[in-house]
Amino acid sequence: MNRLEAIQCVVDGLPGDELIVHANGVISRDSFYCADRKENFYLLGSMGLASSVGVGVALSRPDRRVLIFDGDGNILMGFGNLALIGALKPSNLIHLVFDNEAYGTTGNQPTLSARVSLSEAARASGYLSAALVTRRRELLEVMPTLYRAPGPHFLQIKVSRDVPVTGPRIPYSAREIKERFMKVLGNRSD
């Protein structure tokens, strides 16, 4: 399963109007390519902070389910986020990591996730569930269980480095991304 297939699989199985906070780079671009939803927030930069933004949203809006689409390089850069989420335990948060063991946006230089278990780190940090899947069938089976049980959940999804197509760069300005996301949350920034 490559990253695009994994993201497509999760997006196709979304129960409804879940908010999704996306890590920068190819994670955002692949998800945009699958479906550009108004509930999507894309980080253009700020590597390592997708989960920080996601937990800020989740804590402030416990009535909404929040997904984080993260990458292995992002998790490793902002490792303290695992401790923060594991300690605060927002029950409406599902943290997905599309783990290709590489910095995919910058030329596939290897990350440490081939040698360090991200899901074990999440489990030790206090996530209510933390699992690793490697096949599309497993991903299809496990996602509905995450929507049923209170979180925070962590799911490490191993993906290959094959890139069948590259999604376009996000065509919106940062301000447009924010305004659309705030509008869907019923907040205006003006």
């Binding site: 700020s46 997708a50 920080s52 804590l59």
Partner: protein
Amino acid sequence: MNAGNFLNMLEEAGFDFFTGVPCSYFTPFCSLLAQRETSFHVAAVREDIAVGVAAGAYMAGKTPVLYMQNSGLGYSLEAFASLQMIYRIPALVLMSYRGPEDRGWEEHRVMGEHTEDLLNAFNLEYALFRGDISDRRVREIGRYLRDREQPFFLLVTKGALV
């Protein structure tokens, strides 16, 4: 200024979400925050993570305050640049100023000398906070945040909050 009075002023001006990393200058402020039930408080693990949490909270309808030492400015400047500044996300930043007036700490010397240079270089608005601030000034800052949608820094000097 009494930390509790300052916290009341902030809440009256609409601030309702606090996140950051402690500094000894903020000891009374942080202990009050830890027991506070009228505002949300997230004790973060790094300053840049706090900046990300505050950005998420703002988009979800909160009015955030960040607190950190100026040593955290180095860690968080990229986060301010690539989140708050380009997405136009406001935040009041209380930054303890281990600066020219607080000598004798070698680890704070370089950042202390250049804190204001860095804020100026990034066009980030700031003011010194020496322990005296009016309700009117706090409301003015609130208006700045709403109108400009950028962070505003209060550089908190030693002993300003007790």
